[in-house]
Symmetry: C2
Subunit: 191 residues, 2 copies
Amino acid sequence: MRVDSRRSPGQRAGLTRDAVLAAARAVLATDGIQCLTMRKLAERLGVRPNALYSHVTGKTELLDAILDDVLGEVATPAHDGDPRAELRRLMTSVHDVAREHPDLVPHYLAKRGLRGPNGRKLRAATEQLLARASLPPDKASEARRVLAVYAIGFAAFSETPPSGPVGDGAPPMRDSFATGLEWLLAGILGE
Amino acid sequence: MRVDSRRSPGQRAGLTRDAVLAAARAVLATDGIQCLTMRKLAERLGVRPNALYSHVTGKTELLDAILDDVLGEVATPAHDGDPRAELRRLMTSVHDVAREHPDLVPHYLAKRGLRGPNGRKLRAATEQLLARASLPPDKASEARRVLAVYAIGFAAFSETPPSGPVGDGAPPMRDSFATGLEWLLAGILGE
DNA sequence: AGCTTAATTGGACAGCGTACAGTGATGCGC
DNA sequence: GCGCATCACTGTACGCTGTCCAATTAAGCT
């Protein structure tokens, strides 16, 4: 991936916004968010740091874009399944995706909201499922918020539990997530 | 607060760890976490930045200490009340405190866990309430985790909602929190 | 072919957290 | 009360960060 052929000013490296995003995601996956720095990213792309700013307005926009990309990995619900089952699958998928990209969760929580297109799609899909479960719109948006908070918030706590001595009696995180999710669904949809 | 009298090396400024923490909390409250920098903090205390390192091992420890301080603001539950009501009050207090210190929430979520003494106290209190509601220990720790995730996670989403046009029909955040909390308590304690 | 546009470099700036060595007041043992 | 070790603080500096500006040149359009 690294192309460190020296270039004089004016020479092009053939960068793309997508290439930058892909490289950033690679760094994120292998080295963590601490190492995702403009300079390291540029070095990996064989480019001076400033070059990135031709394809990205800044670091936060970069992170926003990656975040929305990742949100696209969430499994979209079927249009005809049982709403309760689909909601369960959808929120579990959200939770799983969040856990696969732990470094992004704090950034997501800091930005508070699903601003990108994939995020909006996700929000719409959730609300549609709640509507199909015949919740009135205001109840639906309330429930959607509760579910989103729960799914993402849980992911924030899930990684690297301190895990003192081996197996401190607590059930694995994902099972705890499923338990709480059932409670919430019961409250939202009635049992 | 600012004492910018020049000092030559060797002269003392009479700093205390508590003074540093207090000043940090003040900066946090008035200017936000972006402005909470070692240098700005030192300036406010009329001191060179390095001086802080005599009372604090680094910035992250500083934040940890503040975080645990803040956790001390949570209202501790009564020892004899109805467990369900006490749990409701306790988690609402956690949520309120988290909302009052929004900048700390991401740091809390990044650290994942209640490491300081106040945090441990909080955890113990919650688990005790759950035990008094006659949950077996493993169920109790699972439920505690679910509740903590919910209360803190919700706070992460609560501040400055994008709030497009005035009043977009969604109920206020705190009410949504209460609604979801009832759902969870119903699931945990049975209804 | 000429001209505009956009990608890239070189260099720089301000800011960050923090380490190291020196200095001198403070507090403790006698 | 004296001597000495400790510790809080300054001065300086290092390496790192995100980002801006001007100069350079390739690519694309007419």
